[in-house]
């Protein structure tokens, strides 16, 4: 069974960081290292593991967040030495001197670490301002997306450092990761002079109500004739709906014409009709529905307790959990 980080000892300083986005990013990066076969130690402060009381809280009083991020880690700081440490500037300075590879999470870069929250980071990077409906407020992406994305970046930087032979400091700025995710907005305004707007006329994708929930109405210009045929409403031949731009300008009118077709069908019926025409419409699914989702079940992606495996199939198999960590 592949275990590319087998034998590597990682120090996860996420529980010792004061700032929550940093802590979440570090915890995610270290979780991925454990998934790739490293042994991960996670020391906690004397007050205990901070994520142990973080929502969502399970009926037994435990934290689902703590379970997701930390299940496969060892408590304390028991190894004689470490190959890499993941932390913020302060925790690395205090706990990881002499560790050959450091991964340092900050807001803007080393030494630029002001107070932030997850929401404020989304605001500063432009991601908050672009998500949501035009008439509503800017809207946060659910969960801990920016912190987790920083964790993915941190893990990739760490793997690169291992590949280079060690002796590295990997710097991950939460702001940089957010702007990197939002690069199309920045490049658009810098090179084309126009940037996207929240739910603006360029952004013609939306969720639409069905009998039993919502579907994501996602399509390209080439799909429009097929979408029009699928809905079967002659009023969609109106010039207001002739181009992507004009459909964006007249979105309310468009929704009035296509909405009844969607509202009279289930998500499954809509998805089947769209997929027959290769239109990329799909159902909005809740976590509880995903637990019994045929695709996730067929690929063995979720454990019985809902824990997602590493989203990777390696030569046809899921990576095994480190045996000494398995419950």
């Amino acid at each position: 069974m592949p275990a590319p980080l087998a034998g590597k000892r990682i120090l996860d300083l996420g529980a010792l960081c004061r700032k929550r986005p940093h802590s979440l990013a570090i915890s995610m990066a270290a979780k991925l290292c454990a998934g790739f076969g490293a042994k991960v130690w996670r020391p906690a402060p004397t007050s205990g593991e901070p994520l142990a009381v973080a929502p969502p809280i399970l009926p037994n009083g435990n934290s689902a967040l703590d379970m997701f991020l930390n299940r496969d880690k060892l408590p304390g700081k028991a190894a004689a030495s470490y190959d890499a440490a993941i932390g913020d500037e302060a925790s690395l300075a205090e706990h990881a001197s002499g560790v050959p590879i450091g991964v340092r999470i900050s807001v803007f870069g080393p030494g630029e670490d002001p107070s932030v929250t997850e929401l404020s980071l989304l605001a500063l990077t432009g991601l908050l301002g672009l998500v949501g409906t035009a008439e509503g407020p800017p809207t946060r992406l659910a969960g801990h997306q920016l912190a987790y994305a920083a964790g993915l970046a941190a893990c990739t930087g760490l793997l690169a450092a291992f590949h280079a032979g060690g002796g590295e400091m990997v710097d991950v700025s939460l702001f940089d990761v957010g702007v990197w995710l939002n690069w199309k907005a920045a490049i658009g305004i810098l090179l084309l002079g126009t940037g996207p707007e929240r739910d603006g006329p360029r952004n013609h994708w939306m969720t639409v109500a069905a009998v039993d929930g919502f579907v994501a109405l996602v399509y390209q210009e080439k799909d429009w004739p097929l979408l029009r045929e699928m809905v079967g409403n002659d009023r969609l031949d109106d010039p207001r709906f002739a181009t992507m731009a004009s459909r964006g300008e007249h979105r309310a009118a468009l929704l009035a014409e296509i909405g009844p077709w969607f509202r009279s069908r289930t998500r499954a019926e809509i998805t089947a009709a769209a997929q027959r025409r290769r239109i990329p419409i799909g159902p909005v699914k809740w976590p509880a529905e995903l637990l019994r989702d045929p695709q996730h079940l067929a690929r063995g992606f979720l454990e019985a307790n809902g824990m997602p495996c590493l989203p990777l199939v390696w030569n046809g198999r899921r990576l095994a959990r480190e045996p000494s960590h398995a419950a």
Binding site: A6, P55, P56, L58, A64, F68, L69, S115, T117, L119, S120, G126, L127, L128, V131, G132, T133, R140, L141, A142, G143, Q145, A149, A154, T156, E168, V170, S173, F175, G178, W180, L181, N182, W183, A186, I187, G188, G195, P196, E197, W205, F214, A216, V218, Q275, P280, G282, V284, K285, P287, L290, L291, P294, Q295, R299, F301, N305, M307, P308, W314
Partner: protein, 351 residues
């Protein structure tokens, strides 16, 4: 011959060669991160099947539009460009010659396309056992939804993110300007590829990595999945963070602002983002040597600094150099040109 690529100088992936069959963001962006880390990336596009990003906004008709798409150029800087028709038997033979010297193959074609070209991962791994093949797809290589057509925002819906995002009764998707799952998969896929290169050092064998973007979307909501399995109802929390109860999103005229006990932050639109002082210091957007803003980096390395040191190569600009390295002589290359197997313009001249 393929090699372990262990570098004592240069960048972490110096000496690693990547064959990039990636399109738009998910595939092409993954290869770009490998390029940033020092790999030699050869992007292969067919004359009849160029990367669709070449036809995006800003690719003006009446020009060599295929070399002028801002979004394509921002994503694919520094890669060598080989315009090769993989539907032609001689094109596939040339690809196989290139794979003899390659370490990594990245692809995000629609499932079934690679097999239709006779390039199934299992077949490739038998012939090139040290090759790391990264297949990035919306659903994965198998399962009942394997062939489901999805863009990034479709996956936000089917992966659970949309249901939990929004401030009212309606779920929210990010749309084509963000297409979040297409961005975030690059961060994970590039790491998985480096992990497979590390594993190869120990085993001498490559791997086929099957990366489902839908699974990654769900994975990034892992705590919600665990809670749902225990019967805890999932909630669409809007902008409320239970651990920041005093945080507020405030409207001030046409502007919005986040305020919390530790500070305040503006909700930036794209114009205010690029004029922010932190943006100028950020590594996330870089300038290529010709002064054009391009996509930058999500991390920095102190010992092996990375930079956007090369411009985006025009379509087919490296046809001859790449094929010569693979053992083709000038006569064979000219024959491929005459047969239209290699080219430097798309088959269709319309953006």
């Amino acid at each position: 011959m393929p090699h372990d690529g262990q570098s004592s100088f240069g960048h972490p992936l110096t000496g690693i060669r990547v064959i990039d069959l990636g399109w738009i963001t998910a595939g092409a962006g993954t290869s770009t991160l490998l390029r940033d880390l020092g790999a030699d990336v050869i992007k292969i596009e067919g004359p009849g099947a160029p990367d669709p990003f070449r036809r995006w906004e800003g690719a003006e008709p009446g020009t060599d539009w295929w070399n002028r798409s801002p979004f394509y150029n921002a994503t694919n800087r520094g890669k060598r460009s080989l315009c090769l028709d993989l539907k032609h038997p001689r094109g596939r033979a040339a690809l196989e010659a290139l794979l003899e010297c390659a370490d990594v193959l990245v692809e995000n074609y629609r499932r079934g396309v690679l097999a239709s070209l006779g390039l199934e991962p299992a077949v490739l791994l038998r012939r090139f056992p040290r090759l790391v093949i990264a297949s990035i797809s919306s659903q994965g290589e198998d399962g009942p939804d394997r062939d489901m057509v999805s863009y990034g925002s479709t996956l936000e819906a089917t992966g659970g993110l949309a249901a939990l995002t929004g401030v009212g009764d309606q779920p929210v998707i990010t749309g084509r300007d963000i297409n979040y799952p297409d961005q975030v998969v690059c961060l994970f896929a590039s790491g998985a590829i480096i992990a497979a290169l590390l594993e190869r050092r120990c085993t001498g064998r490559g791997a086929h990595l099957d990366l489902s973007q839908r699974e990654l979307t769900t994975f990034l909501l892992g705590e919600e999945m665990i809670a749902a399995a225990e019967g805890v109802p999932s909630r669409r929390r809007g902008n409320i963070d239970p651990v920041e109860p005093d945080e507020q999103l405030l409207r001030e005229g046409n502007e919005w602002r986040v305020a919390w006990p530790g500070g305040t932050a503006p909700v930036r639109d794209p114009a205010s983002l690029v004029s922010a002082p932190e943006f100028a210091r950020s590594g996330a957007i870089q300038q290529s040597p010709d002064g054009i803003p391009v996509k930058g980096f999500p991390f920095r390395l102190t010992r092996h600094p990375i930079s956007a040191a090369e411009v985006c190569h025009p379509l087919g600009a490296d046809n001859r150099a790449v094929l010569r390295e693979a053992g083709f002589d000038d006569g064979q290359i000219e024959s491929l040109e005459e047969a239209g197997v290699i080219a430097s313009t798309p088959g269709s001249n319309r953006p």
